[in-house]
């Protein structure tokens, strides 16, 4: 991975009226990674993805995909030639049938993989003659994924790809995704509220809050470096002993990003009776960042 990252942004900004939906966002997504984009509703995930695919134009700042600028109209079209976007609502134009939408899409993508398309039609149980308007939300999700994965793209930008899917179908979709990632070098950036899924298939995690990146790291790194440390004191814990610590009676607990030993030593020196060090889930890390954002 000594190549340029597929996505690079520098102080990217998107302002609607008085509101900065994206507010100085700096992000890098390395080639070949599957990166989960986490954030609360309204944090800017969808806007960010739309800026990458050219549906929305940035107000200021720099953004490059495959080295192409997202603020230049001609380059945006070039980006779309190698990228696929799945929107949150997964709607399709008009009264077209599944077959017609596929026919429509493949006309724009010479690298279309009919073998993959056929395989996904089977796995996802989609019938060519169904009208898009008659598909259930789950089926539309699967169709959107099919169209994204069969077009021979180098980058997939997915907005809640498995939202509303039952666990079995969601697993199938994830399976198709990782299978594709195993076959060819493809980069995936997917926004999701399903933290468990992100933990399952992502190798990188990016968290955004209020239009800024608050965390961007490899998932393994996060898992191995974050720890929850809990102290019990004889009486009330010392005031303001640690930043972002939660107090509960005589207990003080906090999430430690690195070197829990230092924290443990400090707590012990402050008179802690007992110390517990435990691993944390991605959800814990996420919630912690959402609460303590603004660093």
């Amino acid at each position: 991975m000594d190549q340029e990252p597929v996505i690079v942004t520098r102080e990217l900004r998107k302002v609607y009226g008085k509101i900065s939906v994206i507010d100085g966002l700096n992000l890098e997504v390395p080639r070949g990674s599957i990166c989960g984009l986490l954030g609360r509703n309204g944090a800017g995930k969808t806007t960010l993805l739309k800026m990458f695919v050219g549906l929305t134009r940035p107000t200021s700042g720099e953004g490059r995909i495959f080295g192409l600028r997202i603020d230049r109209s001609a380059e945006r079209i070039e980006i779309r030639q190698s990228a696929a976007f799945v929107s949150e609502d997964k709607m399709f134009p008009g009264t077209a049938t599944v077959a017609e939408i596929i026919q429509f899409t493949r006309a724009f993508y010479p690298r279309w993989r009919s073998d993959l398309a056929e395989e996904y039609l089977r796995t996802f149980d989609l019938s060519l003659n169904t009208h898009a308007g008659k598909l259930s939300k789950g089926a539309r999700c699967r169709l959107a994924l099919l169209l994204a994965m069969a077009r021979g793209a180098d980058l997939l930008l997915l907005d809640e790809p498995t939202a509303g899917l039952d666990p079995a179908i969601a697993e199938q979709s994830l399976q198709a995704l990782v299978s594709l990632a195993g076959q060819q070098e493809i980069t995936v950036l997917f926004a999701s509220h399903q933290i468990a899924e992100v933990e399952q298939i992502a190798d990188r995690v990016c968290m955004i809050e209020k239009g800024r990146v608050v965390l961007n790291d490899s998932l393994d790194e996060l898992k191995s470096s974050y720890r929850r440390v809990q102290f019990v004191f004889e009486s009330k814990p010392p005031a303001a002993a640690f930043e972002n610590a939660h107090e509960d009676g005589r207990t003080l607990s906090l999430l430690v990003k690195r070197n829990p030993d230092e924290v443990v030593a400090r707590g012990t020196s402050m008179g802690a009776q007992s110390v517990d060090v435990a691993p944390v889930t991605l959800k814990d890390i996420f919630l912690e960042h959402m609460n303590g954002a603004g660093k």
Binding site: R80, A84, S87, A107
Partner: protein, 256 residues
């Protein structure tokens, strides 16, 4: 043409073909209807008026087949139905964001094609479809005239059909602009309101008649004096170009 270009045109066609077919069929049926109700003695059953023409003008016409057909077809029927076809067809395919229509459009917008191309093709195809419907039905007027023992000049029919098209494009342009800014909802209401507005303009004081789009479409100058209303044509086409240009501008800058 590259596969992607072909597909852009094909998509525009699939989006509009049902309106085109319906419009063309209605116009053809109108031609048939006109001849089926053709009076045995045109002299006695001559129409009393036409849209965009003054009563005096109509009274001054000779009561012959040529006038009858012109009044009936170019003076009334075509001029009433083309605007409806324009309402049905006028769209850049790019509704404003936030509506249900926009959600469907987002997929198309995420294709590696410029918005300008997508919109322009759709707009141009609409005009082509209106033109074909107008031309085919107007030529049918000539072809079917002998069935009632009459004749209507092909050249005249073509010129009138082209004038009708030249006139309708300004209306079409305004509708494209509206569908871009306001959206596709209540197309019919929009169209009817505008039609009414245009219609009203023709019945206002004489001073306004010169600017009536409907009058341009009727082509009375050519019918009565063989004069081509170049001024009117330029004005109408000019309005259409400005409206379309504005629409494209808005479409290109929009955030979805």
């Amino acid at each position: 043409m590259s596969p992607s270009n072909t597909m852009v045109w094909y998509k525009a066609w699939t989006d509009t073909r049902r309106y085109f077919r319906l419009g063309a069929m209605i116009l053809i049926a109108m031609v048939v209807g006109m001849y089926m109700s053709y009076p045995g003695e045109p002299d006695k059953e001559f129409p009393h008026g036409a849209i965009a023409l003054s009563v005096e003008q109509v009274r001054s016409l000779p009561h012959d087949a040529r006038s009858y057909i012109w009044l009936h077809w170019f003076g009334n029927t075509l001029v009433v139905w083309l605007p409806f076809l324009a309402v049905a067809l006028a769209s850049a395919g790019m509704p404003p964001p936030g509506g249900a229509a926009a959600s469907g459009a987002i997929y198309t917008l995420s294709m590696p094609v410029s918005r300008r191309k997508l919109a322009s093709v759709r707009i141009v195809l609409g005009i082509i479809e209106m033109a074909v419907a107008a031309l085919v039905s107007s030529l049918l007027v000539c072809a079917a005239a002998p069935l009632v023992g009459q004749a209507f000049s092909v050249r005249e029919s073509l010129v009138h059909a082209l004038l009708a098209i030249a006139g309708i494009v300004s209306f079409y342009g305004v509708l494209v602009f509206l569908s871009t800014t306001v959206g596709e909802l209540h197309k019919a209401v929009l169209g009817a309101a505008l039609l009414f507005l245009y219609g009203m303009l023709t019945f206002l004081a004489n001073g306004f008649r010169r600017f009536s789009m409907l009058r341009l479409m009727t082509g009375d100058m050519y019918f009565l004096r063989g004069e081509i209303p170049w001024g009117g044509i330029c004005a109408s086409v000019g309005v259409a170009l400005v409206m379309v240009w504005l629409s494209l501008l808005i479409i290109e800058r929009r955030d979805y």
